[in-house]
């Protein structure tokens, strides 16, 4: 058996549909509609019609059970060769990163020549389950053979059972919403309201400026009448953000700092990224924006309070830097997913904290501060919105293009996820 050799996995480009706040423009679009649209835009941009791509991987966090083969069904509805393999991935908000990273690994090993990774989510067309009580009754009814048994089963039905059970963003083991978890972390790290609002404002301004200079012209395809993320508030100000009432951590009273302005809203959208080997890109006359160098996942024990729910990327970055013999300052761009402004600021503060780096990360010295001028320079989730599984694809394509435009250097990606997990990655520019 031949030993597979490691070769570069290259980010060729990406495509996403504009992100839409929940129950707005995409209220009637399904996950499959949106992922197919993002995929079709990618196919059109790179002329992939009829091509058999090595694999298409992606997923959704909120998924109907009928969508068990969501990505494969999307591929079958696309202009790609129907013989293109596809599979679903699920790792909460890190779904897109995990899908893309795994494809990159397969390309590096020579198992695949090309791959499309991404994700999609809708909180508008969300699956609604029947209540647990009703479900039990229905299952028993299906098992019942005799009329008597059927009637017995039905007799257990109660009016309360008819209330549907909608999905929430609450953590199953703590019952707390993600925002409530982050509120604890934000307070732990002493992140001020002003610092969070400033980060949110920068996100909106950077994203608006990127649109103005046409940065997204080859990263996006309009959908359902939307050609820009509709959460973007180009005219936002610190005063406006400062006037919002706290949305999370209200029990903290005066000390509550997290608002709807410095937290991401529920969002619908989809993203895709095209990856390939150098040979694949050359053969097809496709650009090579950046190398997908490495990625790392981490998980923390948030259940017992040992760590904040969204702090896993802080750990993953430390491990990935060590493996790649890099320091936190060896990057030209930092793409830290803005689940909440507090998440980004807590993570940055933790990296600067000697005790945290020593005790939690096992480092002799703190990872240190980053140049904030290199952080989320074209905006991030606070402005664009955050359709859970679609965020990874948005970030990878955006960063790859930024690195290619610069023509040199490295970029760091950090994406936190529910369940106390996170995925981080390194991209390197190609000329």
């Amino acid at each position: 058996m031949a030993t597979p050799s490691v070769r570069p996995a290259v980010v060729i480009g990406g495509n996403r549909i504009p992100f839409a706040r929940s129950n707005t423009k995409y209220a009637n679009a399904s996950n499959q509609d949106m992922f197919t649209a993002a995929l079709e835009g990618l196919v059109a941009r790179f002329g992939l019609q009829g091509q058999r791509i090595g694999a298409v991987a992606g997923g959704a966090v909120l998924k109907h059970s009928k969508d068990f083969n969501l990505i494969r069904e999307s591929v079958l509805g696309s202009s790609l060769d129907p013989a293109t393999v596809a599979y679903d991935v699920q790792m909460a908000c890190a779904t897109g990163m995990e899908a893309i990273g795994s494809l990159a690994n397969k390309i590096k090993l020579g198992q695949l020549d090309s791959g499309i990774g991404g994700g999609v989510d809708t909180t508008s067309d969300a699956p609604i389950a029947v209540s647990e009580g009703l479900r039990q009754v229905l299952l028993e009814l299906a098992r019942a053979r005799s009329t008597k048994a059927k009637l017995t089963a039905l007799s257990r039905l109660r009016p309360a059972h008819l209330a549907p059970s909608a999905p929430g963003t609450g953590e199953p083991r703590t019952g707390l919403s993600m925002g409530e978890h982050q509120a604890k972390t934000t307070r732990h790290w002493g992140i001020t309201r002003t610092a969070q609002d400033e980060l949110a404002l920068a996100s909106h301004r950077n994203l608006a400026a990127a649109y103005e200079r046409g940065f997204f012209d080859d990263l996006m395809t309009s959908f359902n009448g939307l050609s820009r993320d509709n959460n973007l508030r180009a005219d936002s100000t610190l005063e406006k953000l400062g006037s919002l009432k706290p949305a999370f951590g209200k029990s903290l009273g005066e000390e509550a700092t997290m608002t709807a302005g410095n937290s991401t809203p529920l969002t619908d959208g989809a993203s895709t990224v095209l990856l390939g080997s150098e040979d694949y890109a050359t053969e097809h006359g496709l650009p090579m924006l950046a190398n997908f160098v490495d990625f790392e996942a981490a998980a923390v024990d948030f259940v017992h309070g040992a760590e904040g729910l969204l702090m896993a990327p802080a750990y993953a970055v430390a491990r990935m830097l060590k493996r790649n013999n890099l320091t936190l300052q060896d990057f030209d761009f930092y793409e830290i997913h803005e689940a909440f402004a507090g998440t980004v600021l807590s993570t940055l503060k933790a990296w600067e904290d000697e005790e945290f780096c020593r005790e939690k990360l096992g480092l002799d010295e703190p990872l240190g501060a980053i140049d904030r001028g290199k952080l989320n320079v074209n905006g991030s989730s606070l402005a664009a919105g955050h359709p859970f599984a679609a965020t990874g694809g948005r970030i990878v394509a955006t960063l790859a293009k930024m690195l290619h435009e610069k023509g040199s250097g490295r970029g760091l990606i950090s994406v936190c996820a529910a369940g106390g997990q996170g995925v981080v990655a390194i991209l390197e520019a190609r000329n």
Binding site: G41, A44, G47, Q49, T221, S222
Partner: protein, 445 residues
């Protein structure tokens, strides 16, 4: 609506009724298909020309049943009039009268093509008189023809002969279903350059073409038609239209490029995309255009300037970049409009831009020819699109049925066919021209 009316007057009881009532009865036009013969019947060639035999041989090689000067009583699919040797108006008589008899034998969807020379200021007065007279006579014949038949003319200029590649290309186009909505038009052809395609079913095989404004309407039809004819297509449109654009790209197995044609580097970005993805660029179709109609008395700067910026200024700038890129044999086809020729109420801005296109291609011909290329324009008349569907019914009916000889609006496909033809290698002798696709509309005649 147009299709319903067309169906109604062409079949069954309603057809008889329409005939009795004297309603306009537009015919179903004969359009191009690789499955049908070039002409629906034999071709009669009347008159003489230095290279008549060579022309005739080529026509036979296209599978046509060619009759020289005498068709007997046979039904005819087409008629070619060789008039380029005439020197006095008195000489027209026998040929035109013979043509008149032959017209009685034409089948539906037939074609009449004249081959003559343009009247020049330097000609002997009698020579100029007969040449200009042919123009009037053929256009009049076009108005007399029925059942979807058309009459067009080829004007030999310079050293062009009846069997020059570009003359043959124009002859093929006019005889074929590709020219369904081209009627009463004269095309100047010069020189002996160009090469006929190996197959008229794929005359653009191996070519890479960029089409601006390709997300919908005529642009989408251009993309589809050039793809059908063998080209690799780059579809270009505004980021806001990218949803529709990607659908067009995927239908034609092309690549989508999101671009505002008014951007300073639009031409360069098209060239870069074409070179990087497809290795070459052979043809650019300036189709992107907007209307901002208003009577001039009510016109504002926003409406006027945006139309000029998108419809003509962008093309001038892109052409400079295309010329600077030194692309051998590059063909450019730009969208003009009959509004730019005849004017149109409420469209002074649009007409200025589209008249501008006609002036631009005429004045750019030499520059493009220097590198073996050409630049031409196509001027559509009333075309059935989403845009024209918004014109009030009365106005629309007049524009569609009363004004053109063919008594109907054209299809986006008809415009696309003319563009495709101008892009053929064989069309190299056609440069700086504006070809109208208007069903011989009275507008601008």
């Amino acid at each position: 609506m147009a299709d319903k009316y067309l169906d109604m007057v062409n079949s069954g009881f309603t057809a008889t009724l329409a005939k009795k009532l004297g309603l306009p009865r537009p015919a179903r036009l004969r359009r191009w298909s690789t499955q049908t013969p070039l002409l629906p019947g034999p071709l009669l060639v009347l008159g003489s020309s230095a290279r008549a035999q060579a022309l005739s041989d080529t026509l036979v090689s296209w599978g046509l049943d060619v009759r020289r000067n005498d068709a007997g009583g046979a039904k005819l699919g087409g008629l070619i009039l060789l008039l380029d040797e005439l020197t006095h108006p008195e000489q027209l008589s026998p040929l035109m009268l013979a043509a008149g008899q032959a017209v009685r034998q034409l089948v539906p969807g037939a074609r009449v093509v004249s081959i003559s020379r343009p009247a020049l200021a330097t000609d002997e007065p009698a020579v100029a008189a007969v040449r200009q007279g042919i123009d009037g006579a053929i256009r009049s014949l076009g108005r007399e023809l029925r059942a979807g038949a058309t009459a067009n003319g080829i004007l030999l200029t310079g050293d062009a002969e009846a069997d020059s590649p570009s003359v043959l290309a124009a002859t093929h186009f006019f005889l074929s279903g590709r020219s369904a909505y081209v009627d009463g038009q004269f095309l100047q052809v010069s020189g002996n350059a160009g090469e006929l395609p190996e197959s008229f079913d794929a005359p653009l095989a191996g070519k890479v073409v960029a089409v601006t404004g390709a997300a919908r309407g005529i642009g989408a039809a251009i993309a589809a038609t050039l793809y059908r004819d063998g080209a690799t297509v780059i579809v270009v449109d505004m980021p806001g239209a990218s949803d529709a654009l990607s659908k067009v790209a995927n239908r034609v197995s092309g690549t989508a490029l999101q671009l505002d044609v008014t951007a300073a580097d639009a031409g360069t970005r098209i060239i870069e995309h074409a070179r990087a993805r497809h290795g070459q660029l052979d043809l650019v179709i300036h189709n992107a255009g907007i209307t901002r109609d208003k009577l001039l008395a009510n016109m504002d700067a926003g409406r006027w300037d945006s139309v000029i910026a998108v419809n003509i200024a962008s093309q001038l700038r892109m052409n400079e970049q295309l010329l600077a890129a030194d692309l051998p044999g590059l063909r450019v086809v730009s969208l003009a409009s009959t509004s730019g020729i005849a004017g149109n109420r409420g469209q002074s801005n649009y007409a200025a831009s589209k008249g501008g296109v006609i002036g631009m291609v005429r004045a750019s011909a030499e520059d493009f020819a220097a590198n073996g290329g050409t630049i031409n324009a196509v001027a559509p008349g009333f075309i059935e699109t989403e845009m024209t569907a918004k014109i009030p019914l009365g106005t629309r009916t007049v524009a569609r049925m009363v004004l053109p000889s063919l008594m109907q609006g054209g299809l986006p496909l008809d415009v696309a066919e003319a563009i495709g033809f101008l892009a053929w290698d064989a069309s190299q002798g056609i440069n700086g021209q504006t070809l109208r696709v208007c069903g011989q509309s009275l507008v601008g005649a």
